[in-house]
């Protein structure tokens, strides 16, 4: 083998080793950062194995389960496979105002951790179908802001002049 060829072989070998190391590093890292998508039934079946993993839990907000405290920004609700009671359910708690469309009976996705009893969510999204099309209940949802429209001006209660201290600034981004 010529000296140049030898040199090239060493270079290629070095690159291969570096590449393999990188693949190892990246894949190891990726496994630690995977976010699993589960339904309440899936999650309860695997509850022991996922103590520290970040999980995305998808399901329906059970009718009559929403407890929202505007002063402390704490939200608590029960998530099940269907909007009505029955079947496997998980209690979800989170801090922060839920999106406008959040309400009982709606499909929703939360991201966070499960301690075996309660799901601690740091992100909450209202589920809507990926296929973009006008939903059937448009008229219904538009009732929401009808009371605010200029034709029927809203009556504002005069609020108390007390300051609401903000929740401590977190580093976690919530969307």
């Amino acid at each position: 083998m010529t000296p140049a060829g030898k040199k090239r072989l060493t270079a290629v070998a070095a690159l291969a080793v570096a590449g393999a190391g990188l693949v190892y590093l990246a894949t190891g890292n990726i496994e630690e950062n995977l976010v699993y998508y589960w339904t309440p039934t899936d999650l309860l079946a695997k509850a022991d194995t996922v103590k520290n993993a970040t999980i995305r839990l998808g399901g329906m907000v059970q009718t009559g389960s929403k407890q929202w405290n505007a002063e402390t920004l704490s939200l608590r609700f029960v998530m099940g496979e269907t909007p009505e009671a029955g079947g496997k359910t998980i209690t979800v708690v989170s801090t922060g105002a839920p999106p406008q469309m959040f309400r009982e009976g709606i499909g929703c996705i939360v991201e966070g951790k499960f301690d075996g009893q309660i799901f601690h969510a740091d992100r909450l999204m209202v589920k809507h179908s990926n296929e973009y099309k006008p939903p059937a209940d448009v008229a219904d949802s538009h009732q929401l802001y009808k009371t605010l429209a200029p034709e029927t001006p809203a009556t504002h209660k005069s609020g108390k002049e007390d300051a609401v201290r903000a929740a401590p600034a977190g580093t976690e981004t919530t969307r």
């Binding site: 890292n29 995977l34 406008q100 973009y132 949802s141 605010l148 609020g159 981004t173």
Partner: protein, 659 residues
């Protein structure tokens, strides 16, 4: 209109296939007649594609709901600009628009090389037309935007509210498309070189310049995309390692690698195959990006719908990989290096390391992006890769790139004199230490932002020295005024100077990203009228809720008064917009921008009677600098793009040959 549109698409398909066949033949036989016909086919393809887009715009503006695409995204109530941008607001239309951009590029390319580089042009056009034929094929059947609809609807839903909600939607997608589609031209040029089996200086120069343009468009598109997300999505950030964001970032990384390796290639006459491979990789990644964004494999705003074009796309990408790899391996022996590496510590090594880091970066982002697809296919488990993965990989790689961006220009080509190198590093190292210690003294005790700012200072000083030295010389020796000297100094070495200006822009972006991540503050509260929310120095008082009616939407606006350290700073009004066609509202956060920080307010929800609103507030330091860096990116790239005068270029080539 359906008939005209379909006819034009078919004409384009025909022209492209004709161009492929004739072009490959003309290239192989070096036939002048064949080349002339290839050019005609190219022009015909361009005409057909552009005309088809005009036809679609006419259909959109005349509200011709008998055309399937118009019935899907058109609406009688949308404002004119929304009607215009509806062209690229959904799957079929965006692919049609894609075709028009390819048409523009192909026509431009054909016109520029009407009398030069005959050996290459036929091959290059044939390869570009392969891509053209593929898109025309998709448009003619699986994603036909001109399908006639019966019975004709009287109105349509309008485009996706997320896209109607901000005027940046008129700019961000076309820029990205100009970037994506533009990579087809360098791919054609590179493949022509491979197919001819030779890579002359004369053909390499155009390759670099035809890559710079799409690179710039891609850069603008990515930054505008971040800005759009920031202005619309309401979570206070601009980048989330979403598969679609990654799809645009991947070809950018590869193309950036190419733009650097080509410098080494020209200077040292090595890395020919490597350089061409990077061009090909950039193109393949744009195709992969198109596939990911258009086929609906990912849940995202951009993946418009589950469509059937996925498998066709994969086949095309596979064919292109086989074609380019086959050609590259078949001809690689003809592209032997003429020069060689002489020193380990040299500018070319810095370039090489930069290429390696960029490639690793590309690989890690690609891995994180496609990993969920692979696990779902193989293990049947639905997962996504969390942002921490990307952050953990991207931060060290990004910092390495910043360092290389600084140390590279400080090192000489070829063998270096260690003492002189160290001496030239005195000022940059001093600046690094000054920023590091100064930052620590000022209260930044986190290692990551501190290290980032210090590294940015290091690279900024070296870059500004490189930029400033010739200008200072001009002022001193030629007694020019600083402004004249600055312009002439930049102009005289515009290719290099342009590159350095882009480096400065990158440093600005990196510093802004670091600051906005490390020093971000956020707070959230549910407020009744008169109540306040305190965040850092800011105090927000909630007044009332208003509703504003537009033809296509109704906006609910929260009115707040802002003061900073007790001084009134005016009013802010974050809103939620309800579109007629969608249940979920789309937000319009209100952002008060200053050079140091943004105050960002997002309306989360409201009570129907206006008695309460939930507000999320963020203070995002320096975030606006990310968008403000754009003019510098544009100016630097165009400066670098501007051709040298022929005589100067010849002189330089001669001088290089002598060294």
């Amino acid at each position: 209109m359906s008939l005209i549109g379909r006819g034009l698409v078919l004409l384009g398909l025909f022209a492209a296939i004709f161009g492929i066949v004739v072009g490959l033949q003309a290239g192989a036989r070096k036939s002048a007649v064949g080349l002339a016909w290839t050019r005609r086919a190219a022009y015909l393809f361009s005409f057909a594609m552009i005309a088809a887009n005009v036809a679609m715009e006419v259909a959109l503006f005349t509200h011709d709901f008998s055309v399937s695409y118009v019935s899907k995204v058109g609406s009688l109530t949308t404002p004119h600009w929304v009607t215009f941008v509806s062209l690229w607001s959904s799957l079929e239309g965006s692919i049609l628009f894609w075709g028009a951009i390819l048409g523009i590029y192909v026509a431009l390319f054909t016109a520029v090389y009407r009398s030069r580089h005959h050996d290459y042009v036929a091959y290059a056009l044939a390869v570009m037309m392969m891509v053209g034929a593929f898109f025309a094929l998709i448009l003619s059947a699986p994603a036909d935007p001109f399908r006639p609809i019966f019975p004709v609807p009287t109105d349509g839903p309008g485009p996706n509210p997320l896209l109607q909600n901000h005027v940046l939607m008129a700019l961000h997608p076309p820029m990205l498309y100009f970037g994506y589609v533009g990579m087809t031209v360098p791919f054609g040029i590179a493949m022509a070189a491979v197919l001819c089996g030779k890579l002359s200086e004369g053909w390499l120069k155009p390759l670099r310049r035809w890559t710079l343009l799409p690179w710039l468009a891609l850069t603008i598109g990515i930054v505008l995309g971040g800005w759009w997300a920031y202005e619309v999505l309401g979570w206070g950030g601009y980048w989330a390692w979403d598969p679609v964001e990654n799809a645009s970032f991947l070809p950018w990384l590869a193309a950036t690698g190419y733009l650097h390796s080509t410098v080494v290639q020209e200077r040292r006459r090595v890395l020919k195959v490597w350089t061409l491979s990077l061009v090909i990789l950039s193109f393949l990644l744009t195709m992969l990006g198109t596939f990911m964004t258009r086929s609906g494999v990912f849940n995202s705003v951009h993946a418009f719908s589950q469509s059937e074009i996925g498998p066709i796309f994969l086949c095309f990408i596979g064919t292109m990989i086989l074609f380019s790899l086959g050609a590259l391996f078949g001809r690689a022996h003809l592209l032997e290096p003429e020069g060689r590496f002489v020193a380990v510590v040299s500018r070319e090594s810095a370039f090489l390391l930069n290429n390696l880091v960029l490639l690793i970066f590309t690989f890690t982002v690609l891995l994180g992006t496609v990993y969920p697809l692979v696990t779902e296919a193989l293990r049947g488990v639905k997962v996504s890769v969390g942002e921490p993965y990307f952050d953990q990989m991207a931060v060290p790689l990004g910092l390495m790139l910043v360092f290389l961006m600084g140390i590279g220009p400080a090192l000489p080509w070829g063998r270096s004199d260690g003492f002189r190198v160290l001496k030239s590093l005195t000022l940059p190292v001093t600046a690094t230490l000054a920023v590091g210690l100064g930052g620590f003294a000022a209260g930044i005790h986190d290692l990551l932002p501190l290290a980032t700012f210090a590294l940015c200072a290091f690279t900024a000083v070296i870059t500004l020295e490189e930029l400033g030295a010739p200008i200072i010389r001009r002022v001193r020796l030629r007694k020019e005024t600083p402004v004249v000297a600055a312009w002439r100094g930049l102009w005289a070495s515009r290719r290099r100077a342009g590159g350095y200006l882009v480096h400065v822009a990158v440093i600005v972006v990196v510093a802004a990203i670091a600051a906005s991540h490390a020093f971000k503050k956020q707070a959230e509260a549910s407020l009744a009228p008169g109540q306040t929310l305190v965040l850092g120095d800011y105090t927000l008082v909630f007044d009332k809720v208003d509703a504003i009616n537009d033809p296509n939407r109704t906006s609910v606006v929260a009115r707040l008064r802002v003061s900073k350290n007790g001084h009134p700073e005016g009013a802010m009004a974050p809103a939620l917009n309800f579109y007629n066609s969608q249940r979920e509202p789309v937000g319009t956060p209100d952002v008060k921008t200053s050079a140091l920080e943004d105050l960002y307010l997002s309306l989360m929800s409201f009570e129907q009677d206006g008695s309460r609103v939930a507000i999320k507030a963020f203070v995002n330091p320096m975030v606006a600098w990310i968008w403000w860096s754009l003019p510098l990116f544009v100016f630097g790239t165009l400066l670098s793009f501007w051709p040298e005068r022929r005589r100067a270029a010849e002189k330089r080539t001669a001088a290089q040959a002598a060294t």
